[in-house]
């Protein structure tokens, strides 16, 4: 059986994350993606997370964030859409696609003469999916924004330790689930077009996705219901929960017994059989009993490996989870058993060798997702798309290239980002050059090679 989305073609004009990731999700299930980039000033995600932290000649092909976000996308065409001929190439690709996805700030496409009306003129039933921090329309619409900012606005007030101030986490929270919401809408629009023959324009506000992810909390506030602000590591409705330190640096296990049997099993496991007589669902633990139990759990977890503690808790029917970082996830046996990781073999110019990236979280029984290729190079398919899909003659294509309407080399091609000294990496933010190193794990390559094979990382 062919992949479900075979025959769907998508123009991906997204930048950074929220706009680029949805087409990756659809590529995994057979959609053909034509990634379009302004080759003169290509996507920011090309400019950091270089293999071993070092950029070199041709650095824009080496950005790890780009590799991870664009794996499995079919084509890349480098265009200067400011030029009339570049604009024409864009419009001809759009006319050959079912869907156009864009995440430039509101108004950018219109300024280039590539707004919904222009796209519709090129293809009457086109589907345009746009996304920005605050959406088209409304006073905040022009606001420049990244995921961490809409997270700050929509989520962070609710996030914090019990009794503490609001906090923001490290990952740009609204970005990630927004991508699933956008992919959902692209497909819903395709279903409508199949039924009615009509395309349309759908615009997604990332801030409003954040409000929906917190939707029950906002509804509760609107109802005047008592909602605790910043409850920390609790599980609402359960009398006992927490996050406890394990052996090693920054290792933790979270747990929350869901039933009285699980609660009693926990008390016995941590050698507090006296507490096991209680039913904290019937009568809440006293502050003193709660503290005794916390101390006993911490004493039990402290000398243990977090994964071992997790397995011991689960063996007793106690809901638990080790706090996994990305290294733990890469080496996790459950994810291995479910074939979660995709080993992507990169192009020599990407200098990344073989690397493991997440596959889709949806496992299909009949048509499982397929990995076909690494992220395409900048403008890798300029000639192929122009002379094939778009029907330009070879001579016309050569003229496009000569005029700069299409290209493969950024304006800043010679400004190679500096390699940062190891000691500085601890302070780097991802928006400088992408090193987020808290520690360099000397054992990581042997362990990852043992897990993914000897060619891994070479």
């Amino acid at each position: 059986m062919p992949l479900p989305l075979a025959g769907i073609r998508i123009l991906d004009n997204g930048i950074v994350q929220a706009g680029t990731f949805p087409s990756r999700l659809l590529a995994d299930f057979g959609a053909e993606i034509v990634r379009v980039e302004n080759y003169r000033s290509p996507d920011l995600s090309r400019n950091y997370v270089f293999p071993d932290g070092v950029a070199a000649e041709g650095y824009w092909e080496m950005g790890g964030t780009y590799h991870e976000q664009h794996r499995n996308k079919t084509y890349c065409v480098g265009i200067d859409a400011v030029t009339p001929r570049g604009r024409e190439v864009f419009l001809r690709i759009a006319a050959a696609c079912d869907v156009v996805v864009d995440s430039h700030p509101p108004g950018v496409l219109e300024k280039l003469g590539l707004g919904y009306a222009d796209l519709q003129a090129a293809k009457p039933d086109t589907i345009l999916l746009t996304t920005s921090g605050y959406g088209e329309g409304g006073p905040m619409s022009p606001m420049r924004s990244y995921g961490m900012m809409t997270e700050f606005m929509a989520v962070s007030w609710h996030n914090g330790y019990a009794g503490g101030p609001p906090r923001r986490g490290t990952i740009p929270l609204t970005d990630h689930p927004t991508t699933y919401h956008i992919a959902f809408l692209i497909l819903a629009a395709l279903v409508k077009r199949r039924r009615t023959g009509q395309g349309g324009w759908i615009d997604v506000s990332q801030y409003e996705v954040g409000l929906n992810l917190m939707g029950d909390a906002y509804l509760a506030h609107a109802m005047g219901a008592p909602v605790p602000a910043r409850a920390g590591n609790v599980e609402p409705g359960l009398p006992f929960a927490g996050c406890f330190p394990c052996a090693g640096q920054d290792r933790w296990v979270a747990l929350a017994p869901r039933t009285v049997e699980a609660f009693r099993a926990l008390c016995r496991l941590v050698s507090l059989p006296a507490l096991a007589a209680q039913d904290p669902w019937a009568a809440l633990l006293s502050a003193e009993a709660d503290r005794r139990l916390r101390d006993a759990v911490a004493a039990w977890t402290a000398p243990q490996d977090s994964h071992a503690a997790f397995l011991a808790l689960q063996a007793q029917g106690i809901a638990a989870g080790p706090v996994q970082n990305v290294r733990d996830l890469l080496l996790n046996p459950h994810l291995e058993a479910r074939d979660f990781w995709w080993l992507v073999a990169h192009h020599p110019r990407q200098r990344a060798g073989l690397r493991a990236f997440p596959g889709p979280a949806a496992h299909f029984s009949e048509t499982p997702a397929e990995l076909h290729r690494p992220a395409p190079l900048l403008g890798e398919h300029n000639r192929q798309i122009c002379t094939g899909l778009l029907g330009y003659s070879e001579a016309d294509y050569n003229a496009l290239e000569a005029s700069g309407a299409v290209g493969t080399r950024p304006n800043a091609a010679d400004i190679i980002p500096p390699a940062f000294p190891q000691a500085m990496r601890t302070q780097m933010g991802p928006w400088a050059f992408g090193m987020r190193a808290k520690e360099i794990d000397g054992e990581r390559m042997p362990r990852l090679r043992a897990r993914f094979g000897p060619a891994y990382g070479t």
């Binding site: 420049r144 990952i171 689930p177 919401h181 970082n325 990305v326 780097m428 360099i440």
Partner: protein
């Protein structure tokens, strides 16, 4: 409700958050969603709350209302033979079924995925679970807290020198629900084209890290593990501002926007290295200025200077935010205490503002007659009998 999915038939066996959120996205996009609940008690979130202060009979739970408004609500006990027969009829009707029981529960009641597929070859079966339908953790216990831990979400939240922190509400479960919704439509698209459905297995443990977009490259390329703690945040007169220098705006323009032009005279603070090497000093110097104005003023100022930024908003501020009013974001929900604002769609179709909707929370079994008699063609006598037997 809009018309994207008009005519698409969805059976929602979901409970609590992950399954119901998946089906909510489908329902809000126009699909006909029938939410099946247990007779007598219904979805546990009906009793979970929170409830409005005056709602003594606990009629409108915010959690249940948010995830299940505007669905058709029926009851069914599929442990009884009559209930099982009705359940097969509902499966025959549906194009997509969404469930988030523990793995194996439906099979134990005679509804193994393969058996369903054999009878309903065109049906898309979406199963959401904590760890997935296969693998060594399949039958493990989980809660939102432990799933945020095992999925990698919690690792980046909290203070660097303290324990990792759970994000609020049921974020990981909703996250997985949105993953399942897009996966459901991928399989549905295939079923529309080829007449064959399939089973879709989505786990919360995988849905979260599958959408991380750089963390795995960070670690594998540079050894970088994300650090807890927070950056780019400054106190304001009444809250906090988050703003970030980036190269699209000149450094002196950024400083001007932050009301700190004098810092341009300190070359060691300048980018690209200054903001990284002297982050603490810079933050301190900027904070002196950010404290002098309220958050709302900073937001306007950042907007005018095109600096990427945001401010901390309390729920009251969100509910009163003019931007959301201008976009007609809020729908309305009737409650015993009167109409209240209900978070509306996160998207617009076409350039016009959306029309706010009156949301309806169905009472338990409110659509039993419409579905079992109107849709499936049974008689009111059948309905009365099943109700007496506790099937409905």
């Amino acid at each position: 409700m809009n018309d994207l999915l008009t005519g698409t038939r969805v059976l929602d066996l979901g409970r609590f958050v992950a399954g119901p959120y998946c089906a909510k996205l489908l329902a809000d996009a126009g699909a006909d969603v029938i939410h099946v609940e247990r007779p007598g008690v219904g979805d546990l979130s009906r009793a979970y709350g929170p409830f409005a202060p005056g709602d003594r009979e606990r009629r409108v739970s915010a959690t249940f209302a948010f995830y299940n408004a505007d669905k058709r609500a029926v009851t069914l006990d599929f442990q009884q033979a009559a209930g099982q027969a009705l359940f097969w009829e509902l499966l025959d009707w549906a194009e997509i079924v969404v469930e988030n029981f523990r793995p194996g529960v439906l099979a134990r009641h005679g509804f193994a995925a393969d058996a369903i597929q054999a009878r309903c070859p065109g049906l898309v079966q979406v199963s959401i679970s904590n760890y997935g339908q296969t693998g060594p953790y399949r039958d493990f216990e989980g809660t939102e807290l432990t799933l945020q831990a095992v999925s990698g979400l919690m690792d980046g939240n909290g203070a660097d020198d303290a324990e990792p922190l759970r994000y609020p509400q049921n974020l990981a479960q909703a996250w997985a629900g949105s993953d399942a919704a897009h996966a459901a439509l991928i399989a549905y698209w295939g079923a529309l084209a080829r007449g064959r459905g399939q089973q879709v297995d989505v786990s919360i443990m995988e849905a979260v890290p599958s959408s991380f977009y750089s963390l795995f490259a960070d670690y594998q390329y540079t050894g970088g593990l994300q650090k807890r703690g927070q950056k780019d945040q400054y106190p304001t007169a009444d809250g906090a501002l988050m703003a970030r220098y980036q190269s699209t705006v000149p450094w002196d323009e950024f400083l001007l926007a932050m009301d700190a032009p004098e810092l341009a005279l300190e070359p060691d603070l300048a980018p690209p290295l200054g903001p990284v090497l002297h982050a603490d000093r810079l933050a301190e110097a900027l904070s002196v200025h950010t404290r002098e104005r309220p958050s709302a003023e900073w937001l306007d100022r950042m907007l005018a200077h095109e600096i990427p930024a945001g401010v901390l908003q309390s729920p009251a501020e969100v509910l009163a935010f003019p931007h959301l009013a201008a976009r007609h974001f809020w729908d309305s929900l009737a409650t015993p205490g009167g109409p209240v604002a209900f978070p509306g769609d996160f998207y617009r179709i076409g350039p016009e503002p959306r029309s706010p909707r009156q949301r309806v929370v169905p009472a338990l079994g409110a659509h039993n007659a419409a579905v079992y008699c109107g849709l499936l063609g049974h008689t009111p006598d059948d309905l009365a009998r099943w109700q007496a037997q506790g099937v409905l």
